[in-house]
């Protein structure tokens, strides 16, 4: 059984020293000794996080050609490029734990690795791009700010970079929603429809309730996770409800109430059956996402091979020239 400090009966001296280091708020760096479970948990979490960034480009890519103006196209492209960058920072952090990049990619493509279920929902209208930036990136920021204090150095540093860039994503999304909400009745209707569809999935991004979260207590002791799912979700709800009010849009939850005593909003039940289905690769477009990733990987294979062959040829030439 795990107690509050994460120390377990029968732990080795190394494990105890490791936990003591974490309890002292010292960061763990790549070459330091670490329990295999710590390493595995991090590789799983960081690679899933990286995959989410990469798969997250797909629903947005869907709107690049149809974004309503040149400005919106340029902004969307920049945002998608950021998502790719975020994926790369994270893969780079996972590689410090001896995870191979190709293996991580394979695990995503053959369905062994998960990614955030939010990207298994389709982007049906332009307002969805606004809702994603506002709600999905907003939820991601809440999660990621907490992760900036993760005990593993390279992951925490990647999170800091990402958080700095993510704020642009959220603000551009809110601006899209604002323009629509203040536009024609049809445009406002579009914004409301997007909020209706993305609100529930955004709340699910924080994962199951604390009482049902499988990995939580050990990850908290290891400070891989610093705040609980429900705690982070509550922060997001409290932040977002007034933002929706400003837009004059309604949160699609008849049970939503303000609790004067606690100073928090309370939401109705979350549809966890849907969450389970979508996490397992279901969801309206789950299969499409992986198919698209695989196709991009396979169609890019010749470029990767040609670049390697070219580099090798140049290396040989250089060696020959040096020998002459």
């Amino acid at each position: 059984m795990t107690n509050v400090t994460g120390l377990q009966a029968g732990e080795s001296a190394e494990e105890q020293a490791f936990q003591a280091k974490i309890d002292r708020e010292e960061r763990i760096e790549p070459k330091d000794w670490m329990p295999e479970g710590y390493r595995k948990t991090l590789v799983r979490q960081i690679s899933q996080h990286a995959h989410s960034e990469i798969v997250g480009m797909l629903p947005e890519g869907n709107w690049v050609t149809r974004a309503p103006s040149l400005k919106r196209k340029a902004v969307l492209l920049a945002k998608i490029q950021d998502e790719a960058g975020h994926g790369l920072y994270l893969y780079s952090a996972a590689e410090t734990l001896d995870a191979s990049r190709d293996e991580m990619t394979e695990a995503l493509h053959d369905g062994r690795a998960k990614y955030s279920s939010i990207f298994n929902y389709p982007t049906l209208s332009w307002a969805d791009i606004g809702a994603i930036g506002w709600l999905v990136d907003g939820a991601a920021i809440v999660n990621q700010v907490a992760l900036c204090r993760c005990s593993y150095g390279p992951y925490a540093r990647a999170m800091e970079r990402i958080c700095k860039e993510e704020s642009f994503h959220q603000r551009q999304g809110y601006e899209i929603m604002m323009v629509l909400a203040q536009g024609t009745p049809e445009q406002k209707e579009m914004a409301q429809d997007a909020l209706n569809r993305w609100w529930g999935p955004a709340l699910m991004m924080f994962g199951p309730h604390d009482s049902n979260s499988v990995h939580s207590s050990r990850n908290m002791a290891w400070k891989i996770k610093r705040r609980s799912n429900d705690d982070l979700r509550q922060q997001f709800i409290d932040m977002t409800v007034p933002q929706a009010e400003y837009l004059d849009l309604s949160i699609p939850d008849p049970d939503l109430t303000w609790n004067e005593e606690t100073g928090h909003y309370e939401v109705g039940p979350i549809d966890w059956d849907e969450f389970e289905r979508v996490v397992k690769g279901g969801g309206p477009v789950g299969r499409e996402r992986i198919r698209d990733r695989r196709r991009a990987w396979e169609e890019g294979a010749w470029v990767r091979e040609a670049a390697l062959a070219h580099a090798e040829k140049r290396r040989q030439r250089k060696m020959q020239a040096a020998a002459e």
Partner: protein
């Protein structure tokens, strides 16, 4: 001392079986502005040094974070081993007289 793979590997040797078609790994260092030294920012894969610089520009300097980029093959970095941390840094432990606070100077003496 050990060969380094992306911030230094925890173990040496290949990480997995199977064909190695992965582009080599490079460590990226960025000088954020003139007057500061290059600082490690992360790693990336690239087939050669030229592409590594191009990729580093796209991955690590999308918002004017850099004036200059260094890329170094990760395999070429030699790092001290954390296991030797004690012995390696031990010589500095018992030389408190290297710090100015070791010496007491009367309050009356100024500018020191």
């Amino acid at each position: 001392m050990s060969q380094s793979r992306s911030e230094g590997p925890r173990s040496e040797g290949p990480r997995s079986e199977g064909p190695r078609t992965e582009w080599p790994l490079w460590e990226v260092f960025v000088r954020s502005r003139q007057g500061l030294s290059h600082k490690h920012v992360g790693s990336l894969h690239a087939p050669d040094a030229e592409m590594a610089i191009q990729n580093a520009r796209d991955v690590y300097t999308r918002r004017q974070e850099g004036q200059s980029i260094w890329v170094v093959p990760s395999a070429e970095i030699v790092a001290s081993s954390p296991d030797d941390k004690g012995e390696l840094f031990d010589p500095a432990n018992d030389k408190v007289y290297r710090h100015p606070t070791f010496y007491s100077v009367p309050d009356a003496v100024e500018n020191m």
